[in-house]
Symmetry: C2
Subunit: 207 residues, 2 copies
């Protein structure tokens, strides 16, 4: 199905152009027309795929989060020891702005977030994405609690939300220049490891 | 000195107009001209106080954070028991979007933050504000550690940054609709109380 492949390639080219422009000048200053130009096509051609800027943003959010999920899944599969603790350590490292691509990604995520606050459809979409991530964290922390690796009195959903907040906050303050990305990583890991090392967790238990 | 008072009142009126407009349409869509109109003065009159939009934003940031500091200081002074734990609990409650004014305030803070990412002067200013807040948290947590109310192996600066991140993250996810402000408060308090109740801290110690 060569035609199918072509369409997917074009969509990917559009997202890539959008990503580049958003990184340069901020998402709010990127129009459909600019993106078409950046992707080497006419506005009409781009509108064959995305009728509105909103359609394009929703697709881009999904596309990028799918890529991140794929990358994280791949790295989880490559872990020697797939315990909740190791999986969460890996996710934390992937989510922090430790290289240029992730730095740009987190800047664009901030822009997405701000646009979503004033747009119901983007808001619903962002909310769904955040909820999925929270479900994932909760699931890992529930498994950890069952394995008695975190204390029984820690609520997995609450600790998941705290963990997501820690990652986001450390990323925001990184962009503000309060610490390096490596320092952010160290702090996030200490937070996670403290939860796993907290008394009430049976340290050596491995089933 | 009636003239002096008048100037201060005018500046306050300008900030109040800016605040109102920023809450309605987002800070990025508020110009000097709009703000002058909102404050019931001409653009020329406003420019007597603030030559540029950037000057106005810097002043507004300082003005608002000064008001917050005054309110928090007042409430700290009113506490019956001024322990680090009680002071921090009070700060957490003040920083979360628990009423309409604070909700609007946190929305405007998010806008400030985003503008600062692309503006060196605003960035330096935001950074300084965040650093002062971090110093304050560190100071309270150091005092708590000296009183043996938090474990000796917890670094006060790191825990302060984690606490600020938790508050910011919970606020962001509140605006995204993941939880209510009351749920955010409950999670933040549990996080703080867990630190204070953590084994290694001498629970009953009060000097």
């Amino acid at each position: 199905m060569p035609k199918q492949v072509d369409h997917e390639e074009r969509r990917a080219a559009i997202v890539s152009a959008l990503w580049k422009l958003a990184g340069e000048r901020g998402l709010d200053r990127v129009s459909l027309r600019d993106t078409a130009r950046g992707a080497g096509m006419s506005l009409g051609q781009l509108q064959h795929y995305f009728g509105t800027r909103e359609d394009m943003l929703v697709f881009a959010m999904d596309f990028i989060s799918q890529k991140v999920t794929e990358r994280v899944t791949e790295r989880v599969m490559a872990l020697e020891e797939r315990t909740p603790h190791q999986i969460l350590r890996m996710c934390v490292a992937e989510m922090l702005p430790l290289d240029d691509r992730k730095r740009q990604g987190s800047r664009i995520n901030i822009s997405f977030y701000v646009e979503a606050l004033d747009n119901e459809r983007l808001l619903a979409h962002s909310q769904e994405g955040a909820r999925k991530l929270l479900d994932f964290f909760e699931q890992q922390l529930s498994a950890a609690r069952e394995r008695r690796e975190i204390p029984a009195d820690r609520d997995p959903r609450r600790e998941g939300m705290i963990m997501m907040s820690v990652i986001d906050g450390l990323t925001s303050y990184y962009h503000l220049g309060l610490h390096t990305a490596e320092e952010a990583l160290e702090m996030a890991m200490r937070h996670l490891d403290t939860l796993f090392g907290a008394p009430g967790a049976a340290h050596e238990t491995k089933r």
